[in-house]
């Protein structure tokens, strides 16, 4: 997969195949880190001290991007190159012994310095035993470096995989070689810190300066996407990203991608002015494209681990060992050890709740892709994406709220109603305008608690919006209605029949239903803050009323789940209740309560 335009080609899965200058143009967040890494390599080349550096981050965290730029910048430093050679090992080369690793280093040197390192130099080793060949190569490399007073920068991607394949014996041989020959500086990447690197009894304990690569923040993500847009000459997109809606879109993408560099690279292709209110279709397209990639990663796993991942992907909450064991007809002990391995491989993460550990998938997108594969349809994902999109887009709808904040007067409403009636009564006109006018009228009826009139105007308004191309802004009235509905509910003016009636009207328009769900949740968060997080029994009745009204409607499932966990939190003030939700939902709820 790559981003292509007339002059650029950025490879998303293999940044080392991209033009380094273009990678420079879209580099964000890690300028300081890269400079420090290069300073350490310079210190290694110019002095007897040797630095060994390790960058740790999950797939797509930008490790290869960083390595490519590191090499690119070193290659431009002629002074440094007088003292430094570079051996950038092939990412997928298989090394099972120390000899393999030495051969791999030699091959990398030969590719880069064909005149200095020739096949002829080592031709004899193929007539020797492996031990003799290893001794020969080890001496050959160290002698060549000593002779030229060079330090060798060895770049290893996926150090965790290399260490696993060369095993304890190979690791000890490598460490001894590095200790006896202070001529090397290692720059490595790894998806995770394995026992080989962290256990005190293993050879490479404490050997590397380790840097955990951070996920992108919203601002950094916005900067990355803007840079990609600018590089692709999509200046309108670059401008759009600075608008409130563009920023809201970045927030939504941030939520879904978990701050992963690669995901932004992919998603950046779909952000455009044309897709302001339709994030779902491009997102689902991306999910379709990524699904084979995640399926392939699942195929690498042993069957039981694969089953665990699939189970976690379809679970609506974080899951305990006991629960997984019973679902998969296995023992707690077996599942526990498999989860430990999956955690080491970076597939799952755990959270402590009192004495038990609850597990979930590390990458939100993996969860989504597996769920798509399991469900064979996009409906639940579409719902989630739409919910998240509306959640963040709601931040941009300020006008109505400001109106409320300033203190609304009857006369303002009358003025508004007069204008709305004018719009409705004018012959012809835009259906959307009329729809919005009806919703405004509905809002007034809601405020006045004239229920029959409210439902009628509301239904007409949604019907007209349904018939035209609508935007999130068209549903702004819902947010205010939720406040009025709650006030009327508190007074006992709204019963179950009324909430069910309103829900029937809402459920005819999925977008309205999502927007209403978001507004209910925001209202709960606002109530929590107003009540200083104390539990209010009316809120429990309020949530129950909507659950009853929804009557198991799957389009409202996320909303009900979030509201119920939110209530639990208000009763217990224990943040561990959020673990009843998966991460993508947990973040939203914490956000509502001002905990994120």
């Amino acid at each position: 997969m790559s981003i292509k335009s007339t002059d650029i080609q950025l490879s998303i899965f293999s940044p080392n195949q991209s033009n380094p200058e273009q990678l420079e143009a879209i580099f964000v967040q890690r300028e300081g880190l890269l400079n420090r890494c290069i300073e350490n390599i310079e210190a290694s080349a110019y002095t007897d001290g040797k630095h060994h550096q390790l960058m740790v981050g999950p797939r797509g965290a930008g490790k290869t991007h960083l390595v490519t730029l590191l090499v690119h910048r070193i290659e431009k430093n002629k002074k440094l190159l007088k003292h430094l050679k570079i051996a950038w090992l092939n990412e997928d080369e298989t090394c099972v012994t120390f000899l393999d690793l030495l051969l791999s280093i030699f091959s990398a040197l030969q590719r880069r310095y064909p005149l200095e390192y020739t096949e002829q130099d080592i031709a004899d080793i193929y007539q020797q035993s492996p031990e003799q060949a290893q001794d020969f190569l080890a001496s050959y490399l160290s002698d060549a470096l000593r002779k030229n007073n060079d330090t060798l920068l060895i770049i290893v991607e996926n150090l965790d995989a290399l260490f696993e394949s060369i095993g304890d014996k190979g690791q000890k041989q490598l460490r001894a070689y590095l200790q006896e020959n202070p001529l090397f500086t290692l720059f490595a990447t790894s998806q995770r810190l394995t026992d080989d690197l962290t256990h005190r009894h293993d050879p490479f304990f404490g050997f590397f300066q380790t840097e955990h690569l951070k996920a992108l923040s919203e601002e950094e993500a916005a900067s990355l996407v803007s840079k990609i847009a600018a590089l692709s000459n999509k200046l309108d997109v670059a401008r759009f990203l600075k608008t409130p809606t563009g920023k809201a879109r970045i927030k939504a993408l941030h939520h879904l991608s978990g701050g992963n560099h690669r995901m932004y690279m992919i998603l950046s292709q779909f952000i455009s002015r044309d897709s302001i209110d339709t994030l779902v279709p491009p997102f689902l397209k991306m999910v379709d494209e990524l699904t084979p990639y995640y399926q392939e990663r699942l195929r690498w796993l042993p069957p039981l681990q694969r089953k665990i991942v699939e189970h976690l992907a379809t679970s609506k909450t974080t899951v305990s060992v006991k629960s997984i064991a019973s679902r998969l007809f296995s023992t707690n002990q077996t599942i526990s050890s498999q989860l430990k391995e999956l955690k080491n491989k970076g597939y799952v993460k755990s959270h402590k709740r009192s004495r038990e550990s609850l597990y979930e998938l590390t990458e939100p997108l993996m969860r989504i892709c597996v769920e798509v594969k399991e469900n064979k349809n996009h409906q639940p994902i579409a719902m989630l994406v739409d919910f998240i999109r509306i959640w963040y887009d709601r931040d941009t709808i300020r006008e109505k709220l400001n109106f409320i904040d300033e203190g609304m007067q009857e006369k303002d409403y009358l003025f508004s109603a007069k204008n709305s009636m004018k719009a409705i009564n004018s012959g012809g006109g835009d259906a959307n305008e009329k729809g919005k006018a009806y919703l405004d009228i509905a809002e007034i009826y809601c405020y006045q608690n004239l229920w029959e009139d409210f439902i009628k105007a509301f239904g007409l308004g949604l019907g007209l919006l349904e018939a035209s191309s609508k935007t999130d802004g068209d549903y702004a009235a819902l947010r205010i209605m939720v406040d009025y509905l709650y006030v009327n509910f508190s007074r006992g003016d709204i019963d179950h029949n009324k909430t069910s009636g309103l829900f029937d009207v809402l459920s005819k328009d999925k977008k309205a239903l999502s927007a209403f769900g978001v507004d209910l949740l925001r209202h709960l968060g606002w109530q929590a803050k107003e009540n200083k997080k104390k539990h209010n029994p009316i809120l429990t009745q309020w949530v129950s009323a909507w659950k009853l009204a929804a009557n198991g409607n799957s389009d409202f499932a996320i909303t009900i789940r979030l509201l119920e966990v939110g209530l639990d939190y208000l009763q217990s003030h224990d943040e561990s209740v959020f673990l009843e939700l998966v991460e993508s939902e947990r973040v939203i709820l914490k956000n509502a309560f001002g905990l994120e």
Partner: protein
């Protein structure tokens, strides 16, 4: 000087080990030594100083032994190292080389192509090699010391690959050589305590005391002043500014318990924070905050959990009692006697 936790330091950047190195040489003038210390304390750096800056009358050869998995590998690697020195002198007959030629090795353009390693008489090769270098050094009235790093790893490897008996033979042979040649010394060190490996061998019926002619050195952290000096040097190397750099350096030394590895780590963290923020001055509070963050980090990046898990390894069934005693000691501000602990725990 740049912070470099875990990496190789230039000799001039190794701080606070001068007195230790002096003591080691003084002891080596009388007997061989084995060094014990926890991991990352800086044993290898001490050996690097001794290898690169031996006093007059000494030849020192450094070898990291963890790569060897059998006694023959060990013997051949010592032979190869010794040849690097003998080849420049050529004053004594090279008995080890003659032996290897007799065993099927071939000399091509002055380089000995070794015979296949399987079934080589490793003891004989070893003894001849040591005899050759000892005699060569004796000509100039010089001593030889082998600085053997990660000796316990190698012994454990040999015991696993060739059986405990071979590991025992290696230890016995080395002891015998030390007693035979008065100008031959060994300095052994390792990340795993040598006593653990010997304990394992004793379980198999080994009754000798292979180290009883050697002096044991426990390497500890560096002194307070050295730790503060190192901290200050690293702060300057990282270009970190402070209103009172001495106070920051003192706090680093204090928080790291004068452990150079952690001093390097703390400064590196401070440097990393500097690149991520616009803040250009560091304070003693920053040091405390960084250390606390590492102590409470779920991923335990400095592996402090080891100090708890090792209790089980070391004390087995008595681990719980040990933990209770340690908890009690940790809560007291002053040192206390056994009776007080016993009384406290009985009361509770």
């Amino acid at each position: 000087m740049k912070a470099n936790p875990g990496g190789r330091l230039a000799i001039k950047d190794i701080i606070g080990r001068d007195k230790l190195v002096e003591d080691l040489w003084e002891t080596l003038s009388r007997q061989s030594v084995y060094m014990t210390a926890e991991r990352r304390i800086g044993k290898t750096h001490v050996m690097n100083i001794m290898c690169q800056q031996p006093p007059k009358g000494w030849l020192s050869i450094y070898q990291d032994l963890e790569k060897h998995h059998n006694a023959t590998d060990f013997a051949i690697s010592v032979y190869q190292e010794v040849q690097k020195y003998l080849s420049t002198k050529k004053r004594v007959s090279n008995q080890a080389k003659k032996l290897l030629l007799a065993l099927g090795g071939a000399e091509v353009k002055g380089v000995l192509k070794l015979p296949e390693k399987a079934d080589l008489p490793w003891k004989q090769i070893f003894e001849h090699t040591i005899a050759d270098i000892v005699k060569e050094q004796a000509v100039e009235d010089c001593n030889i010391v082998f600085l053997w790093d990660e000796m316990p790893y190698m012994l454990a490897n040999i015991a696993t690959a060739e059986g405990e008996q071979v590991a025992i033979e290696v230890l016995d042979m080395l002891r015998s050589l030390r007693q035979t040649y008065k100008n031959f010394r060994v300095l052994m060190a390792g990340s795993v305590g040598l006593h653990h490996v010997i304990g394992r061998l004793k379980e198999q019926g080994y009754t000798n005391e292979p180290l009883n002619d050697m002096y044991q050195f426990d390497i500890t952290t560096i002194g307070k002043k050295d730790a503060e000096y190192l901290s200050q040097q690293l702060l300057q190397g990282a270009n970190l500014q402070a209103s009172d750099i001495g106070a920051v350096a003192s706090m680093i030394a204090l928080q790291a318990d004068n452990f150079p590895f952690y001093i390097h780590h703390i400064v590196r963290e401070m440097e990393s924070e500097k690149t991520q923020s616009a803040k250009n001055k560091v304070t003693a509070e920053d040091v405390e905050r960084i250390v606390l963050r590492q102590l409470t980090n779920e991923n335990d990046p400095w592996e402090f959990r080891h100090y708890e898990t090792r209790i089980k390894d070391y004390y087995g069934d008595r681990a719980l009692v040990v933990k209770i005693i340690l908890d009690e000691l940790a809560l007291k501000k002053k040192s206390i006697g056994k009776r007080v602990i016993r009384k406290d725990k009985t009361t509770n």
